[in-house]
Symmetry: C2
Subunit: 202 residues, 2 copies
DNA sequence: CGACCTCAATCAAATGATTGATGGAGCGTC
DNA sequence: GACGCTCCATCAATCATTTGATTGAGGTCG
């Protein structure tokens, strides 16, 4: 039914990895089949043996990225945790990927742009984004129920806000873990319900 | 000193406009000098007469975008308004550009990506982003001072949050004015200080 | 042998850029 | 006004490379 649901292995996986790095370095604009083959250490013809066309190659990259995405989202027995903790864990996940494999975000951004004009890519990228977005919305809705987060929080809009902020920290000229942490802290303050009366200031 | 500070006019302006539309449609990846020339209605050689190389062309596009950006940011006698009103006006500006010339955002995104690898583009795009970011931070800081916005608001992080959210509404699969408005409403709730005690709920 | 994988060589199309020539507007001189 | 001159803008034709893809000939391992 969905043959593309099996994880990518072997040569195709090597090709996808090399392609991802090249995309991160030069964007789709500068992506050349020859360069990919060279980086894998194989002949161009061999590359075409495994991946019929450049279009298919880009789809392969998208699926390879999805593999990573799925891998990170399987082992997470956290739905029973309080919303605040779940949100913090989301931030941690993001932060980890951010410092360990920043290439993933660059490629993801490029793919998201490309999805605008490429249906095949959209079919792979769209559900990923929708899932991430949905998870955030779910956490926010849960937090509102708990009373931890604001009661007037719009889960959908809030999810968009969180996601957008995470991406923006990436794109910012002064990006880096420090800025990311400040943004996360600000997000937490933004969604949390204020403590009834802590101490009266001013 | 800075010859590129004069606004673009004449043929170069026509070329930049055509290029922008093509970039919005196909991205840098699919940008061809021939196509641009054809859309302007001139010969490829004529295009190269006005713009020496493709690299210079992309820089031209960046400067053309900056012209628009500057044009929108000159006539704004609003620094005396309350922070909340200023922020609302920022949202309105964004919304207007969003519905009237959505192409601008697509091209801006592409350029921001490209700025990562192209110093010339970065030199044009960087200051624009910094300015927009700075304006938002200024408004947030003002609002905190006024007491309209939260006292614990981090202006830098908040600006990033607002900017990121605006961009995210663009990229979202269900993008559109309706989602944008919801996001803006959520942002306002996020930064505003809560009214001391409205009426006790629950 | 046959399935799977690899490569050197080559192709055809696409693509950024150049060349050499043409027409016209402005301008001073006769 | 006519002539010659220069600059600007334009174009048809062409070039040199790049680039995605193919071909046909192995090679390895069970």
């Amino acid at each position: 039914m969905h043959p593309d649901y099996e994880p990518i292995t072997g040569r195709p996986a090597e090709i996808a990895l090399a392609a991802r790095r090249l995309i991160a370095e030069r964007g789709f604009e500068g992506l050349r089949t020859r360069d990919i083959a060279a980086r894998v250490g194989i002949n161009v013809a061999t590359l075409h043996y495994h991946v019929p066309s450049k279009e298919a190659l880009i789809e392969l990259v998208a699926r390879s990225l999805r593999d990573d995405f799925v891998a990170q989202n399987v082992t997470r027995p956290r739905k029973h945790l309080p919303a605040l903790d779940q949100l913090r864990l989301e931030f941690l996940d993001f932060r980890e990927t951010l410092v360990e494999t920043p290439e993933i975000f660059i490629v993801m951004t490029e793919l998201t742009e490309r999805a605008r004009r490429d249906e095949k890519v959209k079919a792979v990228v769209g559900p990923m984004l929708a899932f991430a977005h949905g998870e955030l919305a779910r956490i926010l809705a849960l937090g509102s129920e708990e009373g931890t987060f604001r009661a007037d929080l719009d889960p959908e809009a809030g999810a968009l806000m969180i996601f957008g902020t995470m991406v923006a920290t990436q794109r910012s000229p002064r990006r880096g873990p420090e800025l990311f942490d400040r943004a996360c802290a600000e997000l937490l303050r933004s969604v949390q319900a204020q403590p009834p009366e802590s101490g009266l200031a001013t």
